[in-house]
């Protein structure tokens, strides 16, 4: 089962949805094994939280374990945003150092440990992209037409062959169920390092439409992930 291989599984999303949406009930009803077994995603989330608590006390082994669990998707995200391996490494390095230093401040009610780590990586990567873009704008006296986002066309890209791992496949399958315009909006929101207005300009759509697409896309993705869990 895909779920069991997830370091911070999809069922976590489903379980945390219980207070906000109806699908999780249905999801549990549809998957009897999950009812009899203890929820593995909760275990994984508990493991992540426990590792962070140990890291807060200076436990280097816990830090190494957390790195092994998170570094793949974190590095992939950083690389896709900054598009420079050396810079992506700096970003991930910086984010993990922050995890090490700020582990004590982690609040599980604000989101999972994984989403916190992703936020740290994205913020740093986006800062770098924006700084780079500002520099480019000053030199060229105009904004570049393409920030290299066209190459990130998602599931159709040549990098597909290199993708392994059930988790990536499951998430990609869930993303593929969204309408193309919602996929694009989420992709730009997550990897683009753009503001709302910049996304709207990039897509040549009114701002309101873009906001609605991001909302609907995110909800649809959540439901699709819950179904696949």
């Amino acid at each position: 089962m895909v779920l069991s291989r997830f370091p911070h599984g999809l069922a976590l999303a489903a379980a945390s949805m219980a207070e906000c949406a109806t699908p999780p009930r249905a999801v549990r009803d549809m998957s009897p094994p999950a009812m009899s077994d203890p929820d593995p995603s909760e275990d994984r989330e508990a493991v992540d939280t426990d590792l962070l608590q140990r890291i807060a006390q200076g436990d280097r082994d816990a830090f190494a374990q957390l790195y092994d669990r998170f570094s793949g998707p974190l590095y992939g995200t950083a690389l896709r945003i900054v598009r420079e391996p050396a810079e992506a490494q700096d970003v991930v390095h910086d984010a993990f150092i922050t995890l090490w230093e700020k582990a004590a401040t982690f609040e599980s009610t604000r989101g999972s440990a994984f989403s916190w780590a992703i936020t740290l990586v994205r913020n740093r990567a986006i800062d770098r992209v924006r700084m780079r873009r500002r520099r480019a704008e000053l030199l060229a006296d105009s904004a570049p037409d393409d920030l290299g986002l066209a190459a990130m066309s998602g599931p159709a890209s040549g990098a597909d062959a290199a993708i392994s791992g059930d988790e990536a496949r499951a998430v990609r399958a869930a993303v593929a169920t969204l309408p193309a315009e919602q996929q694009k909006a989420l992709e730009l929101a997550f990897f683009g390092g753009l503001t709302q207005e910049e996304i709207a300009r990039k897509l040549s759509e009114p701002l309101g439409t873009v906001k609605a697409r991001i909302r609907r896309g995110l909800i649809k993705l959540r439901d699709a992930l819950a179904r696949s869990a």
Partner: protein
């Protein structure tokens, strides 16, 4: 209640797309609403999964080593730093003489271990410092480039400003000429407006007169309408009266054609029995009013006959019964065959339901 707008802001927040006041306001909202906080956490967790859609390039092994080296000092200062203090050997005076050389050797070994650890620690600190210095160099280089770029932009802007000031005075002259032309146009417009005002005044006067005429005409129309209504009512009344008169005249004319016949008793036992028959030849129907006829047995009916010379036998006009007490009846009848002229009416006593040709005793007769 989380409406669509708040849900939208929560989604944008999950992607860190809310900025400035929008973000501040949303976070204040978040603080006061546990349901919204739960939704925000849920959206953040969902958004985080998008990380898996990035190409799965594993980070270089060197990064892991570098990171673990970076975090080592804190872990070691907390766990390993007290070790040297704990392993300091306190000399025992009683065994000092015997074990002194061993103690010295052990002390040296511990000191060597501690120094070794210190060396490793200092080395990794130096590595971190080197990393930090490299990053600082990169940042410095970036800032230098940025400053250079800003200098280029400023210079370009200055050149633009120099060019634009020359053309400004020519533009001023043009603007003055345009302003003069505009004021002339304005004066012309004023004159036109004054003319238009005067014309409007005279038109207004005419309009007022027309309004007054119109009001008078309206009053006359109202009066005429009232008169017309009265006249129509009178006309209708007259028409009704004429219709009634015509109807009266017609009924009088019809009445003249009616055949009215008195029927007298032919029965010795009931000499008072009598009847009146009224016949309308136009409608071929009539009314028979009888009185004091003897009561009927259950199997009997009285039958009326119309005697018309054109037929060999009297024409059947139907059966009737009488009130047993008074022997009276009113009987609306029609003849079974067309009647051209009535010679006489006769009533006979027949069996129940009547007969085609009179069989029973004749009770009444009138010519």
């Amino acid at each position: 209640m989380i409406d669509e707008r708040r849900e939208e802001n929560t989604a944008l927040y999950a992607f860190d797309l809310l900025e400035g006041q929008e973000r501040t306001r949303f976070e204040a909202d978040l603080d006061g609403d546990p349901r919204l906080r739960a939704l925000a956490a849920n959206f953040r967790n969902t958004a985080a999964f998008l990380a898996y859609t990035a190409p799965a390039t594993p980070p270089p092994a060197e990064l892991r080593a570098r990171l673990l080296a970076s975090v080592a000092p804190r872990a070691q200062t907390q766990t390993a730093a007290p070790a040297p203090a704990a392993t300091v050997i306190r000399p025992d005076p009683s065994v000092f003489g015997r074990f002194a050389p061993w103690a010295v050797a052990a002390g040296l070994a511990v000191a060597a271990t501690w120094l070794g650890q210190r060396y490793l620690s200092v080395q990794s600190e130096a590595r971190i410092l080197r990393d930090q210095q490299a990053m600082a160099d990169v940042a410095l280089k970036g800032l230098g480039q940025q400053l250079e770029a800003e200098r280029i932009v400023m210079r370009r802007q200055l050149e633009e400003l120099g060019k634009s000031s020359g053309s400004a005075s020519a533009q001023l002259q043009e603007a003055k000429a345009a302003a003069a032309a505009l004021s002339a146009q304005l004066a012309e417009r004023d004159r036109l407006v004054a003319d238009a005002r005067a014309e409007t005044g005279s038109l207004r006067g005419q309009l007022a007169k027309r309004d007054a005429d119109l009001a008078q005409l309206s009053q006359r129309i109202v009066a005429l309408t009232r008169d017309t209504a009265l006249a129509t009512r009178e006309l209708n009344d007259a028409r009704d009266r004429i219709a009634r008169l015509l109807a009266d005249m017609k009924s009088e004319r019809d009445l003249a054609n009616f055949k009215i016949t008195m029927l007298a008793s032919l029965v010795k036992d009931s000499p008072q029995a009598n009847a009146v028959a009224v016949w309308d030849p136009a409608k071929q129907e009539g009314i028979l009013q009888v009185e004091k006829l003897p009561a009927l047995a259950a199997n009997q009916d009285y039958q009326l006959w119309v005697v018309d010379p054109q037929y060999p036998i009297p024409v059947d006009a139907g059966v009737f019964t009488v009130d047993p007490a008074s022997g009276a009846a009113r009987f609306d009848f029609k003849a079974r065959q067309p009647v051209a002229a009535v010679a006489a009416f006769a009533v006979s006593l027949e069996r129940k339901g009547g007969v085609p040709k009179a069989e029973g005793p004749m009770m009444l007769l009138g010519k």
